[in-house]
Symmetry: C2
Subunit: 274 residues, 2 copies
Amino acid sequence: MHGYLLTIAYDGAGFAGWQRQEGFDSVQERLEEALGHLFGEPVVVHGAGRTDAGVHALRQCAHVHVPRDFEPHDLLRAVNGHLPETVRVRDCRRVPPGFHARFSASGKRYVYRSVVSRILPVFGRGRVHWIRRPVDLERIRAGARHLRGEHDFAAFSSNPGYQRKRGTVRRIDQLRVVRRPHGFDLFAQGNGFLYNMVRTIAGTLIDVGVGRSEPDDVASILASCDRRRAGFNAPAEGLYLLRVLYPPEAFDPRTAWAVNAAECGVGSFAEGPG
Amino acid sequence: MHGYLLTIAYDGAGFAGWQRQEGFDSVQERLEEALGHLFGEPVVVHGAGRTDAGVHALRQCAHVHVPRDFEPHDLLRAVNGHLPETVRVRDCRRVPPGFHARFSASGKRYVYRSVVSRILPVFGRGRVHWIRRPVDLERIRAGARHLRGEHDFAAFSSNPGYQRKRGTVRRIDQLRVVRRPHGFDLFAQGNGFLYNMVRTIAGTLIDVGVGRSEPDDVASILASCDRRRAGFNAPAEGLYLLRVLYPPEAFDPRTAWAVNAAECGVGSFAEGPG
């Protein structure tokens, strides 16, 4: 079998999310269909993580093992030829057998995009979150300061119990607000994110930005570990998975996916296969 | 009757263009339906100009005369309440009885957006023109220099005969290329544009940019007044009407639409109604 890492962009608006679900249109299914068509047998696509219905990706990552060898660029073109226009493989490269899109990853980077406008943004439907009230970005920045670094983010996950294996402690390396001509972007990078964590952080900080809560409330919300204290779950349409981050060792056949396996609760593989 | 100028944004992807056409979905029809619903009688919407199927607008302008007085902001909200999400009135203001969205206008501003990428841009479908080959913006800039100023643009119109009244001489005040992270924007501002003129200019300059023709060819194409010499008609999806420009006198009840009527071939009104 031949291993490849695919980097994938998709417009989440028309999908029920990344993960294959019976009766729904998913990005994973579309990729598996394209690869199945190409190889004449089922191919499983292992994503770096799920994205919810409506969430977009500029550089989602997924690995596949396929039965025939392809030049990476030829594989990219062949797969794209079987995909809808809303999904596109942007990059394809060979990976060692032990590489795992999820377990080898060391972090992720997202952006949450908001437009601030009294009038519905015609070109933003399904692509950005629309905020009708004025937003004070300095308040958002002040609130965001409390979230950087390593914390228990249980208050910012819709379903913290689901994360049993790895617990709810994560490290946010970057949480930055960038003003845009008609709104703002909230960039979040960290070693991992709980279910709905970016959207809940966005919702909580938007509450701060429009004056529904105070910047320092963010500290007490975080400390409470209580989801009910945090803000709303900001809509999926504003969220983009920007990058999945891998350490260089992940591409080394001797260490491959073991690199981060320990952190992911797959401790017995922590030493690597060789 | 009460006159209002509406400033309108629309996503052209789902429309057969601005103009009402039997059996097709048009922006004008949607606006007329919304206003008809509001006033209980037919209201004609007079646009500053047509846009073709697939062409977008950030600030198209149109005037209406309605039978009841409304506060402009209330009218804006009421109309928006009856419009699909792909059309939005962004601004509404009173205008004098003689104001005419088309004849009072002194110019227009467009942008033609291109993405340069080997891979189909997932978020660009219907919104930008996709160019697969490398583009040299300096070549485009050199070609664009020949088009600024007042010229006979017959070579850049799909149907120059259609413009009989006003002829085919227009003045381009600005033609500027701006590099974007994944492509470039071509801004064009002038006192008027022939049918398909911005798209033909864009197609011709893209030909220059990818090396299919030389920057100085643009001068001889222009001089030829021959449409067959110019480049392709760049696809509608990349084109946005940015602004319709009005001189301050257009909003003066004494001069109103007469301001530019002469230029538009409606010479007898050149002196204004009073």
